[in-house]
């Protein structure tokens, strides 16, 4: 199989790392070669964070280049827009419609862009959802990451049960119930 490229983008603290771990642990079960590139350290402190996940018969570079992402999983609208040039022609971008103001906007040095979803639709298929509300309904605001994984899982071609098994082995026991609910909420939109 040719390599599939997935980009997970968001704001530091939104739980993108756990999302990439679930995704990585799930595709590994399909017998693919997998590489995941993460961000740790200073950039995690409320800055833009980007995780790349690639799988296929043989993966070399752990990073995804511009115009190469089959799927972008965006935890925040502005970060979706920032990642847009990475989307492959005909690729899919799953966007949580949450907007988090970056510091230049907060201090009045820049404006938060408007009409992001329509701009994104020029680049590819847009699936937009309010993952924050779905996470709240599932019992924890922090489960946005697993809601979004649920959305991605639906069109992944990987069986539902395999995703559930992976969540069970990746997520700590005490958060399991909330996360399974959150996954279903995303899976069933």
């Amino acid at each position: 199989m040719s390599t599939k490229n997935i980009m997970i983008v968001g704001v530091g603290g939104q739980g993108t790392l756990l999302a990439s771990r679930i995704l990585g642990n799930c595709v590994i079960k399909e017998g693919y070669d997998v590489k995941v590139s993460e961000v740790h350290g200073m950039s995690q402190r409320g800055g833009s964070v980007v995780t790349y996940l690639k799988y296929g018969d043989k993966v070399y570079s752990p990073i995804v280049g511009k115009g190469e992402a089959d799927i972008i999983l965006a935890f925040e609208e502005l970060e979706a827009l920032r990642a847009m040039p990475y989307l492959k022609k005909g690729g899919k971008i799953i966007v949580n419609t949450q907007q988090i103001n970056p510091m230049p906007v907060i201090v009045g040095k820049a404006d938060y862009p408007t009409n992001i979803l329509s701009t994104l639709s020029i680049a590819g298929d847009v699936v937009a959802l309010d993952a924050l509300s779905l996470a709240k309904q599932s019992g924890n605001m922090k489960a946005v990451n697993v809601v979004l994984i649920g959305v991605l899982a639906k069109s992944s071609g990987i069986a539902y049960e395999k995703w559930i098994d992976t969540i069970k082995t990746t997520v700590p026991e005490k958060f399991l119930e909330v996360n399974l609910k959150a996954f279903d909420a995303g899976y069933n939109i």
Binding site: V11, G12, G13, G24, N25, I28, D33, V34, K35, V36, S37, E38, V39, H40, G41, M42, S43, Q44, R45, G46, G47, S48, V59, Y60, S61, P62, I63, G65, K66, G67, E68, L78, E79, L81, R82, M84, P85, Y86, L87, K88, K89, Q98, I100, N101, P102, M103, P104, V105, I106, V107, G108, K109, A110, D111, Y112, P113, I122, A123, L132, M141
Partner: protein
């Protein structure tokens, strides 16, 4: 069994399989997770040391005593450990001795972009560089064996994309490597001139053996695809090159980046019309090739700055354009990292800015106090420099300047190398004010314990360094502890201490908001008492913003309920929901 593993976790696995007995490190992105992963193996003694120099010396002692030992750090940490490293090159290794060092091209979380390969050359040691997690494990194991075979400390060099990428690793059993005998050997282990002169001869002879080894070892590999273009590379650049150029070129993949082979490079180049050296950061391999008289294309086609990409390589070597994409039509706001909601440092910087002080800064989350709207940090150099550099500033600019000058330094950074600067201030009659930002943890690198937290890396209770008695014991008579969230009191303390004519230390004490033990009840909300004065905006809290109509809002998904804004608002317009 194959497992998806972070490069850093794979280095830890390699050390485990190699039978390592001891690991001592100081945290530093992107190297931290190596040592954190060692904790998984109960057979290994593991510790966070106060700084990298101590960590390296602990490992060196363990090696001399016959155990296999490792010390891990980031590139700038290697500067701190350089002193023992250069001399242990002469001493060599009894038990295998490995230094894992992680460079940070692109400076994701660093203050400079130095290239650690120069250290291997300068210290006449040996350096291996893996390109994925499997190689991280294998090369670390090899490094221990080579260290003992050649009586030499061996570096494993990583870069951020190797350290922080996960790929598949085949897991093996731990080798049973008994601790070797310790035999007193003054000529080898006591590096005074008479002995060191003889050991230097040995070091030069050993280097020649290593060059011969580099020519023939199975670490360096040639991939002949029958092309007339050759590529010489190492580490992550090999993965980028493979992705970009596939089998359109021949490869010389160097796993051993120091010493570099001579004949191997010449033979490889002689079969190609054009040879590229692809390496992030400095022209280290390129200069070696050129010194051998091999005509290679290096930095004239590639940058010295930042990280490389496959796209960049495809363009430079094959003149191929990147993939079709939709570019942004206008610039969009950047999202730099910020102090987290609830961060104790926010209150400190709010006060320092309000008082218009010059702030000598340091390395940690609190470096972010340099960013608007807090923008109060004046300088950031390296670990510990906030204290010592402020002493220098005060000595040239005089008393009045010093009364508007403070140093800010985290608890872990203070123990790392701030205490020596403080001793200098006391000893040399300075009158500086040092603010220790005591958030009860090493924050930036992801919550490591340190000598001031009272817990070891394994979470065991231990003696806790008391910052108050420590500062008093070096001769600072004025030591004040204050919670920066008590903004008025904190401001008063800062005014008093900066006005004092003697050295003083303020311990700004409040735990990191991300610690599990820190729980603030409820969320802050703006009530209709708000007069839009925007004083709360000066806190630079990511949860507070103003909309187009000038209405101040708090984003509940961002707010952690710390309540700092409640104390700052002059109209009592912010309440807990």
């Amino acid at each position: 069994m194959k497992k998806l593993m972070l490069g850093n976790a794979a280095v830890a696995q390699g050390a485990f399989e190699a039978g390592v007995n001891l690991v001592s490190s100081y945290p530093g992105t992107p190297s931290t997770e190596i040592t954190e992963n060692i904790v998984k193996y109960p057979e290994i003694f593991v510790e966070w040391a106060p700084n990298e120099k101590v960590a390296a010396e602990v490992a060196i002692g363990a090696s001399i005593a016959g155990g296999r030992a490792m010390s891990c750090c980031k590139h700038v940490g290697l500067n701190v450990m350089a002193d023992p490293v250069f001399t242990v090159s002469y001493i060599g290794a009894n038990g295998g001795l490995v230094f894992a060092v992680a460079d940070d091209p692109g400076m994701h979380s660093s203050q400079n972009e130095q290239d650690s390969r120069h250290y291997a050359k300068a210290s006449k040691t040996m350096m291996l560089e893996p390109s994925d997690s499997m190689e991280c494990k294998e090369f670390t194991k090899q490094a221990f064996a080579l260290s003992e075979q050649f009586d030499i400390p061996v570096f494993v060099r990583l870069t951020t994309r190797v350290s922080h990428s996960q790929s598949l690793v085949e897991i093996c059993e731990r080798e049973n490597v008994p601790v070797k005998d310790y035999v007193k050997d003054v000529s080898k282990n006591v590096m005074m001139p008479a002995n060191a002169i003889k050991r230097h001869v040995y070091v030069e002879e050993r280097h020649q053996k290593l060059v011969t080894y580099a020519e023939n070892c199975n670490l360096n590999t040639v991939e002949d695809n029958g092309s007339k273009i050759g590529v010489i590379c190492a580490g992550i650049d090999y993965q980028y090159a493979k992705e970009a150029l596939l089998d359109k070129v021949n490869y010389l993949k160097l796993a051993m980046v120091y010493p570099l082979p001579e004949k191997l490079i010449k033979d490889f180049a002689s079969k190609c019309d054009k040879v590229y050296v692809i390496e992030e950061l400095d022209p280290f391999i390129e200069e070696h090739c050129k010194a051998l008289g091999v005509n290679v294309i290096g930095k004239e086609a590639f940058t010295m700055l930042g990280e490389y990409t496959p796209e960049m390589i495809a363009k430079a070597v094959l003149n191929e354009d990147g993939k079709e994409r939709v570019e942004l039509s206008a610039p969009i706001p950047a999202r730099p990292p910020v102090l987290c909601p609830g961060c104790p440092h926010r209150a400190t910087f709010y006060v320092l800015k309000k008082l218009g002080l010059t702030v000598s800064g340091d390395i940690g989350c609190y470096t972010l106090g340099a960013i608007a709207p807090l923008d109060s940090v004046d300088t950031t150099i390296c670990m510990g420099a906030s204290v010592s550099a402020a002493h220098g500033m005060a000595k040239v600019r005089g008393e009045q300047f010093n009364k508007k000058l403070v140093s800010v330094i985290g608890d872990s950074t203070f123990i790392h190398s701030g205490i020596t600067g403080l001793i200098d201030i006391v000893y040399n009659k300075g009158a500086n004010t040092v603010i220790i930002l005591d958030n009860s943890i090493t924050g930036m690198t992801g919550h490591q314990d340190n000598p001031t937290t009272g817990k070891t890396i394994r979470g065991e209770l231990t003696k806790q360094v008391n910052l108050i008695t420590l500062c008093k014991s070096v001769g600072v008579d004025r030591v004040v502890v204050c919670d920066p969230f008590d903004v008025k009191q904190f401001e008063k303390v800062v005014r008093e201490e900066t006005n004092a004519d003697e050295p003083s230390v303020i311990i700004a004490q409040r735990p990191c908001a991300l610690l599990k033990s820190v729980k603030y009840e409820g969320k802050c909300v703006i009530t209709d008492k708000c007069r839009k004065c925007k004083l709360c905006m000066k806190l630079g809290c990511p949860a507070i913003s103003v909309d187009k109509d000038g209405v101040v809002k708090i984003d509940a998904s961002q707010c952690n309920g710390c309540g700092l804004c409640i104390g700052v608002c002059p109209f009592s317009a912010i309440e807990k929901e």
